[in-house]
Symmetry: C3
Subunit: 456 residues, 3 copies
């Protein structure tokens, strides 16, 4: 596989999606989903404006065709075709002549970074406006202008994409990202790109869990999906919101509301095993759609694995969050980490040691060299002993790898060998622990356990 | 309100009480309680000498009228009227001529601080003696002296004061201080002064909890009260011993025996929110009356909020613990902290989010501005989200403020607004948590919960 | 008692055992056990080769009479009589002429320490070989040699020693060491020596617990004993593997699999009370026989109290682990620590405060001076208060000493005085806690508890 191959693919997709003007509804979202559908077979859903979704209502659909500010000589000072960030999201249509003083009431800038255009929206407060750089703002002369926003805000629908990948288990893992931002790369498109290729990857092998992949507009999309899919919530074991995965920062994991869910332990182990620096952040009820998924009446354990968290890099929600800000290599690294998280989710099995009384005689099992007294035990021998010692019906491979302070992959590979050699047997898949513990000092009890679980 | 107004009032009361010679029984206690009664309507109880109280017996009543040491020229070397600390507490009456060598057997000094008179007592070991400064001791000539202690130790009673403030709840909060020390300010009188005005403050509003305020002699008073009021113990939720609240030191909190009671969390939060340095001390079975309240067969969770803890300042139990050692501003600061503790106790409610599934549409509730994309979320918006997220029937406002790392007052004020706007509703007052949690994924169950709690 | 008297005795025994060539079976073990039997009345057991023990089979018995490498001039290059480490353990018999190149395939050295002979074995992989120093190896000339190993590997038996000391209780404490190493001192013989004299010490007083002392070959011996004594496992409360107790390092404690068993708390307290530096190591499923005792189907809580742990000193498993490496003073110090551990095990009782409501009136019990107001409370007064406060049926003396941060011996001695004075009474011996807690606020309940436990 080529260096950064996945990162390059993701970057190419982002590049294709970058020019599209997206919002929480409208054709930008449809066009984006159409491009994703060329890669993975998502279903695209349309939810009519006015649909009641919990405490909310699906808003009118917003579309924009053109927008500009012209001076009276007819020169375009600001042109939507050059950057869709120039228009305040969800701006009402307008076309009129206006004095500078009046115009200024509808202009938004970011004085701290005079060359950057801020990204702002006004979804639920009917309004119109332009965002522009402080530099552009200061160059405006005190004259009359023609402002034009050729937009529509009409009954239509909210559009989202969903892909369900059926696994062996009814239990689902939720992977969600949002696609409601216009030309912004790290916040938004990096998540869309990564999740598209992660879904493709998941479809290539038959996973154990089922996976539910969502491409939704932030907040209202999550609320809409949850409101319309209440019956699906109970099958979701936990989930991740994918966003901000293309910048140069270290990995950051925002924990689930529970704070110590299996998912939290898994992501922490992946990051620990990487040997790289990373940040762990406790759940807080702000941020992205984990806010909705983790609301008290929904209560799905949802974390978010990012690089630099939203709001903590200066380019966030500005025109500087562009194709130069993200890099293929960072996307590739994030993609690898997500694959490792899936690897742990899929392989966090619970085994039973079939020779629980003292160590098995490994010398007779063709597993290890018999010369004793060697000071330097190779690590996998220790992994082997840890698995045998802790496979008592209460510790999953993840638990074992954490207690042993050994990489999960080493524990998993060693467990495979032990399983193949008949020394351990899968007891209950994917770490779903059973209260029943067959390892008691009572021999008969152990025999019954063997029968019950059809162990030889 | 004037700067240090409460501190000044407390200081004035201490000044008035300072000259009185108190002990564990006698007229000094009665006089002290009489002065307190001018401020708050305490009941004064008399328990006869000889009354059996658990493993103890109420002692004989001690009163003292005069005491001195004269030289044979008739000059008073030591005069009880100049300092009541000169007499060993509970000294038997004596009047006789005595040689210096013999006298010395009954003299007590503090060589480390040659100008200070130590405070000593001999409650249960019939004896007599004088305490004096090392300097006075060294100036005694080898001659004969006339010693006189005009005291009485006779059947009488133990006197204590009690004020019960009826609140909405049967559950009581205990606030206790001791009033058995003679002219000592920080250890003893500062607690008496602060608790008097705290009781006055509590009476001015109708509290939710009931409050039981005790002014008792240390040890024997607590034992007596507990022995005679066994039926009241079960209503006491927890309590505080008020002492050493006038010195310049940082606040110190000695935890309850439990170590993590609601009271411990409350006091810690008050101290954290203050932004000031403070000391946390684990419970130990010595100190003041928390020893009795926390004995295994009583087991009330009682902490103690002080400034410098008894025994840890050099002036402790000496004549230097006088009106100059304490200051109005420190008393005022301690008073404020106690009021904040009461504020948390009274307002630690449990709310239920009435729109638990995803976030409520706050834009329609007239609560916050609708312009999105703003980087700088004001803190109270985060408080709002925390309250909504955690008001699931398991987290009190205190729990929320601790998890959110937000000041309790901000959480409380935000909760008031949310409650007013109909977004949350009091579920179970004062943090008394119910095992029943209405936020399950089952919609029907939630509906039943709504009915059960009469939520709309 | 003479300085290092126990250390000197242990050292003498080690010196006597040092020359014997031990292995996991054979006459070396028998001879060693015979010498131990001169000191303590162990039973010696023989388990026939071929006996099935769990997943293992008792191996053939190995004995060795002589071994050497001669050059063709008849000069002995290597002589078993000079060091039994020269022979690879469990070497098959051989006598033949051999070229250097061929010989080298059966030679083992330790290049890092050119003067030391490594200790290696090949128990379960029929083979032959010599171990020698790198210096000796390099001096070998390219010529023909005569190699001779005069050994036998035949049906016989595995030999081990066991001593059962009957105490008042059916519950047993397991003390185990291994005796399968040839001339190695710290790893192996120091444990044998210390455990021999610890058993002698235990027999001199009538212990409360029963003690089971094992002298067994490592791994196969533990497996054999466990397999043949399954019915005894349930009586074992916990145990210690005694090894590496003669070197100059600090004490090291490897915890039980549980990690916070009573034994772990006891050993930690002994080490804390010593005021010396020490190391605490979490359980890991490698090392000595705690591997077998802590396997999931056996699950006895077994720790190991050592000085420097095996494998962490350079002399480990080499000829440098000799009589100069260990010292009488270190053995003596280890012996003292083991005795203190036994002291805590035997005295970790649970008492009941017979005056649980408030403090008892100690002044009437002849326990302490009655002059109050003394700043400097002697430590044992605090110990007294801690015992009274925590003796509520849930805290053993160990729990109290840990919470109070007071030496166990001070707590124990103070408890003896309180018990003698009738203030506390043994509730349930040896810290075996009862769910039933008599200290509730209900007086009647307490009265019933008093009756139930026949307290006055």
């Amino acid at each position: 596989m080529r260096k950064n191959e996945s990162g390059d693919e993701i970057y190419s997709l982002i590049k294709k999606l970058y020019p599209i003007c997206r919002s929480i509804t409208g054709n930008g979202v449809r066009k984006t989903l159409g491009i994703i559908k060329d890669i993975i077979p998502i279903n695209i859903y349309e939810v009519p404006s006015g649909t009641k979704v919990f405490d909310w209502v699906v808003p009118k659909e917003w579309n924009i065709h053109n927008a500009y500010i012209k001076n009276l000589k007819g020169k375009k000072i600001l042109d939507f075709n050059k950057s869709n960030l120039y228009v305040l999201g969800y701006s009402l249509p307008i076309k009129k002549k206006i004095k500078l003083a009046e115009l200024k009431k509808n202009l938004y800038t970011l004085p701290k970074y005079p060359n950057w255009i801020p990204y702002l929206t006004s979804y639920y407060n009917p309004s119109w406006g332009f965002c522009l750089s402080q530099k552009e703002y200061l160059s405006l002369k005190d004259e009359e202008y023609e402002v034009c926003i050729d937009s529509t805000l009409e009954n239509g629908s909210l559009t989202y994409g969903e892909l369900f990948i059926q696994g062996d288990l009814k239990q689902e893992i939720l992977l969600s990202t949002y696609l409601c931002h216009p030309s912004l790369c790290n916040d938004n498109l990096s998540g869309v790109g990564l999740l598209t290729y992660l879904a493709k990857y998941l479809m290539e092998f038959k996973p154990h869990y089922s996976y539910r992949i969502l491409f939704i507009p932030e907040t209202i999309g999550a609320i809409t999906w949850l409101s319309l899919n209440k019956n699906k919530i109970q099958n979701i074991k936990y989930g991740l919101v994918v966003t901000c995965v293309g910048d140069p920062g270290n990995l950051t994991y925002k924990k689930t509301r529970d704070g110590n869910s299996e998912l939290d332990q898994i992501v922490k182990k992946v990051l620990d095993d990487s040997g790289e620096d990373y940040n762990l952040i406790d759940f807080f009820p702000s941020g992205s759609d984990e806010r909705q998924f983790s609301s008290p009446g929904i209560n799905i354990q949802v974390g978010s694995l990012m690089r630099t968290i939203y709001g903590k890099y200066e380019e966030y929600h500005t025109s500087a969050d562009n194709l130069s800000f993200i890099e293929s290599s960072f996307l590739d690294d994030s993609f690898k980490k997500y694959k490792e998280v899936l690897y742990l989710i899929e392989n966090n099995n619970l085994y039973l040691n079939l020779n629980p009384q003292c160590e098995p005689n490994l010398g007779t099992k063709g597993i290890y060299s018999l010369i004793g007294g060697n000071k330097d035990e190779p690590l996998d021998k220790l992994a082997l002993f840890w698995i045998l010692n802790l496979s008592d019906g209460t510790n999953s491979l993840l638990d074992i790898s954490i207690k042993a302070k050994i990489k999960f992959s080493v524990i998993k590979n060693t467990a495979d060998i032990l399983s193949e050699k008949g020394l351990i047997k899968i007891y209950n898949s994917n770490g779903i622990k059973n209260q029943f513990n067959p390892y008691l000092k009572d021999e008969d009890f152990y025999k019954k356990a063997k029968e019950k679980f059809d162990l030889k």
